[in-house]
């Protein structure tokens, strides 16, 4: 007689196992968020950090752990006693006097063997003057509390060509901080939106309509009746309603209530939960399936009018999507994912098969609209069709543009006073440190803020006092907890930029760790 453990063995050795390898096991908890596609993107990315500050090494830590391909730390300085006190990627006194880049790369490298790390002793000032092309080997450049003049030069260079690396600017002083992502264009297919695509209940495709109409609800076995999926119930209820209302769906509040009552009246027994579910989902019957405005507005994108074979695949797919929606029934391609609903196996799987088949057919039609001059990866097409209801095109701004735009600043000071005031206090801090070696005061920072926004612009006194006072208190402080917080935030946004999944932050994200808030400005 077989023992229990042998039992497990016999079963498992007879079937090919799907057991993951060590790498998959290591990354399991993150693969559940961004899957293999996101992981591959991370693994082929190259990140540069300018300056091994506590904040910069915190950001790198959170990129090395999930497994980016390569990172370089560019820093020409040596570890000071001050550096050794607040950076987890220096070894206390042992690191004092050693090269910051070497120490940081050595200790960050320990976190993940599969990530390549490089220390570079060059001075960013010289790199920018003599060899800015050095920066082009990276996808992403991170600059924390970089000298304002150098930062300006760096940002302008990286902005000069849309194909140049993304720049993430990070600034902090004491409990206050902000970051900004400089990019020209960022497209997202897998936005992981919680928005649900349409099930086309109001515009059922022929096979779905026939299936719904073919069921004999009145003479059905009670058990089967309690297992009719809500999709079918709603199609039937809508059909009946339209017959009695001149072909129109329920429109007014009263009509919608009446429609819901009609669904309840279809019940044979009061405990048929599938009908309750249909009532809860009734909006799907009266909401017309159209192309969502966020998506149709993308069809006006300038990148579509200048489409060429060398355009990014995203825009070829967007163009095909536009053409698809010009055909009846003027919707996005059907998605094959059917949400779970009260039903039995047979009914649900049948319905799922109908949706899958139809989705395949519509995908074929969609593909016929893709320009024949381009080759697009099959998986990318699948993903695009599946996520068509939630795709995004983001256009960014140049670092520094906001501070040069007096009108935009004035406007933001009204809309988001605390965020904008804090941002300006940080701007004043970095420009003041250039002018004098003396530590800034609240007054000197305020004067500097006024000179940034222009003399005519009124400043929100309370919020500005709160911000400049804190900056003056700790103008050069890279607090460990603030560094760690920024390390998480900036790395997270970097991951979104690299994987092109989820939605990155636009404008400046301002952080106040006294009152513990975050908020955007300069959008």
């Amino acid at each position: 007689m077989a023992t229990e453990s042998q039992d497990i063995e016999t079963v498992t050795t007879n079937v090919a196992t799907g057991q993951p390898d060590n790498k998959t096991r290591r990354y399991d908890r993150q693969l559940r968020l961004w899957a293999a596609t996101g992981q591959n993107a991370l693994e082929s990315s190259r990140v540069l950090a300018i300056g091994a500050t506590a904040t910069a090494t915190s950001v790198l830590k959170n990129l090395v752990l999930p497994g980016i391909g390569h990172f370089t730390v560019l820093d020409h300085r040596t570890v000071t006693p001050e550096d050794a006190g607040n950076n987890f990627f220096f070894e206390g006194q042992k690191s004092i006097g050693k090269r910051r880049a070497d120490e940081a790369v050595r200790l960050l490298g320990e976190l993940n063997d599969s990530v390549e790390g490089k220390a570079d002793q060059a001075n960013i000032e010289e790199v920018l003057s003599n060899n800015p092309e050095y920066l082009l080997q990276f996808n992403l450049v991170i600059a924390h509390n970089l000298d304002a003049v150098l930062l300006d030069k760096l940002a302008k260079f990286l902005w000069s060509d849309p194909s140049y690396p993304t720049l993430m600017v990070v600034r902090s002083a004491g409990f206050l901080a902000e970051f900004f992502i400089q990019f020209h264009e960022h497209t997202v297919i897998e936005s992981h939106s919680e928005a649900m695509p349409s099930l086309r209940i109001d515009k059922p495709f022929p096979e779905l309509y026939e299936h719904a109409m073919s069921l004999d609800l009145d003479n059905m076995d009670p058990m089967d009746h309690a297992h009719i999926p809500y999709v079918v119930i709603l199609i039937r209820a809508l059909e009946d309603w339209k017959k009695a209302h001149g072909g129109n769906p329920p429109k007014t509040y009263a009509e919608k209530q009446q429609f819901k009552k009609g669904i309840q009246a279809m019940k044979k027994k009061h405990d048929e939960e599938n009908f309750d579910e249909a009532e809860a989902q009734a909006y799907r019957a009266w909401t017309e399936t159209t192309v969502p405005s966020e998506i149709s507005s993308l069809f006006q994108d300038p990148a579509l009018s200048s489409l060429s074979p060398s355009s990014p695949p995203f825009f070829h797919l967007l163009s095909a999507l536009h053409k698809f929606t010009l055909q009846p029934p003027h919707t996005l391609p059907l998605t094959s994912t059917l949400p779970d609903m009260r039903s039995d196996t047979k009914n649900y799987i049948h319905l799922q098969t109908l949706y899958k088949r139809r989705a395949e057919e519509e995908k074929k039609v969609f593909k016929s609209f893709i320009s024949k001059d381009v080759q697009i990866d099959e998986e990318l097409v699948d993903s695009f069709v599946k996520n068509a209801h939630a795709i995004l095109v983001m256009r960014g701004k140049r670092w520094g543009e906001f501070d040069e735009d007096s009108a935009a600043l004035a406007n933001s000071l009204v809309i988001s006073p605390r965020e904008t005031a804090t941002h300006l206090a940080l701007s004043a801090n970095s420009s003041q440190s250039l002018k004098s070696a003396a530590p800034p005061t609240a007054e000197s920072l305020k004067a500097q803020v006024q000179s940034i926004v222009g003399s005519g612009v009124e400043l929100p006194e309370e919020q500005l006092d709160a911000a400049v006072g804190e900056v003056a208190r700790a103008p050069t402080s890279d607090l460990p907890n603030v560094a760690a917080f920024l390390g998480g935030m900036v790395a997270q946004e970097a991951i979104k930029m690299i994987t092109k999944q989820y939605v990155p932050q636009k404008g400046y994200l301002v952080i106040d760790m006294i009152d513990m808030w975050t908020g955007p400005t300069g959008l």
Binding site: T12, T17, A491, Q505
Partner: protein
């Protein structure tokens, strides 16, 4: 706070070590409370006197330990009952592949002590329930980075129970952090004064529970097939053999069994990873979210320990999927909170409800969630889960109507061995 000669009294400190932190400790800011005594006194308290407990040495715990050490806390204790698994290494940055299988608390403590000179981290490899009030009384602050709801309820109730109005030292601020994927929260709990963990129990995401009849008869999703394999097939095939979700052979058996069932019903999507995710109830976790939430918690600990800035009142919520969205608000205390409220909770049920049905409700209701509850009135035992003799003696009551045992408006006490508090209910009949 006692003043000492200076704030940098420890022998391991070097000039400039606290350059960054001292900027906020030497000067108040515009929003700092006037009671803040900038300078040596506050540094001495932080670095020489303050004793802090970290519960959990996992995703949040590793980050918390490193942040506290750099912030200047020097007497840190850490409790964790887990050992290191390979799937921890994508975020628990104090651990290396060679550490797999070792206790988290011990490895983390050693790492931090090696990296940050002069910091003492005292590990305890075990359960928080092993420790008594006297143990918890020695700390000034408690930071919690746990993934278990049960454990948080336990420590929350323990710290609330410990508060003695006569003794201000008995009030231990509890800072709690939690993450799930790109989302997370950090909060400050002042036991008995502000809303406690139990007060906000209904804010937890409800776990998807699949009805047993769906699993047994009408599966539609791959998850239903996996549940069938683990909940119904495993006990049928292996009888009393306990399923170990950390054993890859067991997961593999479940995967194959679920896959067979899925094929039979034409259901797609059963994978190894999904099987593991469903049976272990895996929550996605990444380094970046953990870093954000742990930093928020440590920032609060630092502010409370030093008074250098006002602490969070009392809840910070973060959603990082669409840009960065955060929301800071004051979560309100619940008067009928079984831990800190003192008021009896009113429930209205049908006259026909059996005790069994009531128990089902106690398990399921979002603001109660008491697994395996025992029920009694001031005069009689209604149902007890343990010991076995008492369970057997009270079992017949399960079928009885509550209304036969408790009068309208009568009170009932609910307890569970996992929770260090009892819930009093006033029952009314509809």
């Amino acid at each position: 706070m006692l003043a000492s000669v200076n704030g940098n009294s420890s022998s391991s400190d070097w000039p400039g070590r606290y350059y960054h932190v001292d900027q906020v400790l030497d000067t108040p800011g515009p929003r700092t409370d006037p009671s803040f005594l900038a300078g040596d006194g506050v540094k001495d308290f932080l670095r020489n006197q303050c004793k802090i407990l970290v519960i959990g040495a996992g995703g949040l715990g590793c980050e918390i330990l490193a942040n506290l050490a750099l912030s200047g806390f020097k007497d840190i204790h850490v409790i964790d009952m887990d050992t290191i698994d390979i799937s921890n290494l994508n975020r628990q940055f104090l651990f290396r592949p060679k550490d797999v299988g070792k206790p988290k608390a011990i490895v983390a403590a050693e790492f931090v002590m090696n990296r940050v000179p002069g910091v003492k981290v005292t590990p305890y490899y075990g359960k928080i329930q092993d420790k008594d009030e006297e143990y918890y009384m020695q700390f000034n602050l408690v930071i919690c980075g746990l993934d278990s709801v049960e454990a948080r309820r336990w420590i929350n109730a323990t710290l609330v129970n410990m508060v003695d109005p006569e003794n201000p030292e008995s009030l231990k601020p509890l800072i709690d952090g939690g993450t799930e994927g790109f989302k997370g929260q950090a909060r400050v709990i002042l036991p008995t004064i502000t809303s406690c963990y139990e007060c906000s129990l209904d804010m937890l995401n409800k776990q998807t529970a699949f009805p047993i009849c769906t699993i047994a008869n009408t599966p539609r999703l791959p998850e239903h097939c996996i549940e069938w394999a683990s909940v119904l097939e495993w006990p049928r095939v292996f009888k009393d053999k306990k399923m170990d979700t950390d054993d890859p052979e067991h997961i593999n058996w479940l995967y194959i069994t679920a896959l067979k069932r899925a094929k039979e019903f034409n259901i797609e999507g059963v994978t190894w990873s999904l099987t593991q995710g469903v049976v272990k109830n895996i929550i996605p976790a990444i380094a970046s979210t953990n870093a954000i939430i742990a930093a928020s918690c440590c920032n609060e600990a630092f502010k409370i320990a030093t008074s250098s800035a006002a602490y969070l009142n009392n809840y910070f919520m973060l959603i990082g999927t669409e840009g960065v969205y955060s929301y800071t608000f004051e979560h309100e205390k619940r008067d009928d909170c079984p831990v800190c409220g003192g008021q009896t909770m009113d429930i209205t049920i049908s006259k026909d409800w059996t005790v069994d049905r009531l128990i089902e409700m106690l398990v399921e209701r979002q603001d109660i969630q008491i697994k395996k509850p025992s029920l009694s009135t001031p005069t009689k035992q209604i149902y007890f889960q343990a010991p076995p003799q008492l369970e057997e003696a009270t079992r017949p009551n399960l079928e009885k109507k509550v209304s036969e045992l408790v009068p309208d408006g009568g009170e009932m006490t609910i307890t569970a061995t996992t929770l260090p508090f009892s819930l009093s209910l006033r029952v009314k009949y509809a």
